[in-house]
């Protein structure tokens, strides 16, 4: 029996519903872990990352750039 025969006889008419259930399951897990109280501080700190470009120790002239 070929794979196409198996797939053809598998009765997969419920695909859209199965996909929806899969999504809801995964989504529930993500919601739970995102809103876990223990993560509040961590997420708050992480949200500040774009505002921190790092501590500039010193500025040095570039050797390759700039107006000639």
């Amino acid at each position: 029996m070929k794979l196409s025969d198996i797939m053809s006889n598998a009765g997969l008419s419920m695909y859209a519903e199965v996909a929806l259930v899969m999504f809801l399951f995964a989504f529930s897990i993500i919601v739970i872990r995102t809103f876990a109280p223990s993560r509040r501080r961590e997420l708050s700190e992480t949200s500040l990352l774009p505002l921190d470009d790092g501590h500039v120790a010193v500025r040095v002239p570039s050797s390759v750039n700039g107006r000639k």
Binding site: S38, P50, R67
Partner: protein
Amino acid sequence: MTLAPAVVGSRPVDHSANPPLDRFSYDDDIVRKFLFATLIWGVVGMLVGLLIALQLANPFFNFNTPWLSFGRLRPLHTNAVIFAFAGNAFFCGAYYSTQRLLKARMFSDAMSRFHFWGWQAIIVSAALTLPFGFTQAKEYAELEWPIDIAIAVVWVVFAVNFFATITRRRERHIYVAIWFYIASIITVAILHIFNNLSLPVGFLKSYSIYAGVQDAFMQWWYGHNAVAFFLTTPFLGLMYYFMPKAAEGPVYSYKLSILHFWSLVFMYIWAGPHHLHYTALPEWASTTGMLFSVMLWAPSWGGMINGLLTLRGAWHKVARDPILKFFVVAITAYGMATFEGPMLSIKSVNALAHYTDWIIAHVHTGALGWNGFMTFGMVYWLLPRLFQTEVYSKRAVEVHFWIASLGIVLYVTAIYSAGLTQGLMWRAFDQTGRLMYPDFVETVVKLLPMYWMRAVGGSLYLVGMFLFGWNILMTWKRRPSQYEVPVIEAAPLTPRFAEPLVPVPVPASLWGRFANAAWHRRWERAPMLFSALTLLTVVVASLFEILPTFLIKSNVPTIASVKPYTPLELAGRDIYISEGCFNCHSQMIRPFRYETERYGEYSKPGESVYDHPFLWGSRRIGPDLAREGGKYPDLWHVRHFENPRAVTANSIMPPYAQLLTEHVDFAGIQKRVDAMVMLGVPYGEAVNSAETMARAQANLIAAVIASQGGPSGLQDKKIVAIVAYVQRLGRDIQVQKTSSAIPTSGAKTP
């Protein structure tokens, strides 16, 4: 957070527990390179866009020049804007933000430069091949196989450089913008490779390994997700970095960004089939695509709301800061486009909008508003930082914003009106139950004022683009004689790193331990595992739809009367592809009375089983051609190709007079037939005598044309091949239904 010698957020740094600090600098030279590439290709892509907009308003603008005709330039416009303008903008922002978010210079400067020059070479290759008719005929994947391989190589180098930078980062946590970049890099690679699998038959010619329904499915799995993972997720990553920068405050809700990310990644990959509603695609796939498209509304708007609310407490800045204005309009356009996308995926709405200019308005709301304005805002924000001088003219930034906004409004207003007009005219019946506008060109003429208005809107947007370029160049000219390179200090990540300065108590219960979510925090700090999970999400969803489409026999019931194209018809089909006819003509009649009345019997999946690639099309600037065969005499087609307005007054189709003088490559036909045989097309006797059969059919068609009063001596010209192909379209089904099909020279089968 990195334990740098400073106060980060509100947390004091404990120096005693840390190893010595690393010193490093960011590579901003690569960011500057991509910035200039964004500008140059943006101007080129939009100039071509304006030209093809004018061509639709008046075919004069095709200039009777084959390589300037609409069918050939339209893919150049889309490729230039998507992959050259938006692509370079993404790389520009990604190289800037990734280094700073990870506190690390890019892994390899050489790889960064290879990525830059490789990507530009690919764009140049596109510009040198598409106008000359080298195309795979797949939307946003038109480039031929050698360029596809180059894209894969350059993309892999980019990915290696990116992931190696992540492994060398000095920031423990990976910010959500990086997640979006990871999802984009992984998914684009998968989409590109699998949609472009093809069998080469020459240096710049190949046939898709998929046919008909399966090819259509793969194409729109790719096409939709190219929009998702090249124009949406990368720019969401940019939004999550540059919006807080410009607003000088953190994103509104980091939790929302997490939900938004996973929901988008999970749902987007399913939604492709909504591009194929009411076509020969199986109904289950169509419904699945619709369902997930509608669900996409929630995460899309989650992102939009998160972006806009990042301005909480800073709205007063918007009035005086044009950069924030650009971001606000960009995010609003994203919201509009992502409201409209799910709406268009609903079958009943799609029935009206599909094949019309409504879809063009939809994508331009996204491209001009979301991608364009995000890029402008980002670049204006970057200019003083990259060139270490003030922006040359803040007034010009403000003028750019208003002129481009006006351009968008004019563009989309005109084209939304055009789309609705088209859709409603196509389906209108009079009181006697007959089509109110049976002549397709009637529905075209009505659109011309709107096409002119679109050209005006596009011109304004382009004027804004020139202002953008002028401002960038003038700012660049004011740069210092030597840039200053900030040397950053940050602590390296070590295995000894103890993240929680305040230990989190571990709950005793199983549920408590689960909700504590330490397991997921470990995932997020393991970028490779995180990437693997993203990959799994995308692949599982893809296979869920792809496997049944390929493996369930009932999805593509065969039709006994459907035969392969003759060798000459195959050559004609390749000319049809080369001229880009599929950009304006669909070959897919939907099962609606207003379609079957106009075009004939609706299209069946089994009719395109030998179509490598499928040519169902996505737009009808001209009528559907699925049942074109036998509707007109051969000579009508010759006259029509030579000068469309000679036979159809007010037609906006470009002339193809060169087809009457250019020669068919008879010697190359055998190789093309052999390639089709390798792909499983049952060619019978043509396997060994393709050229002879093609010449015989060409002689027959040329004789028929001459006997109808047309020019003689066409037997070796391209026109006979394309006439053979067009006269074949839809004939197999007609043959099955009735034996009284109109006899034309092009209806032979092997």
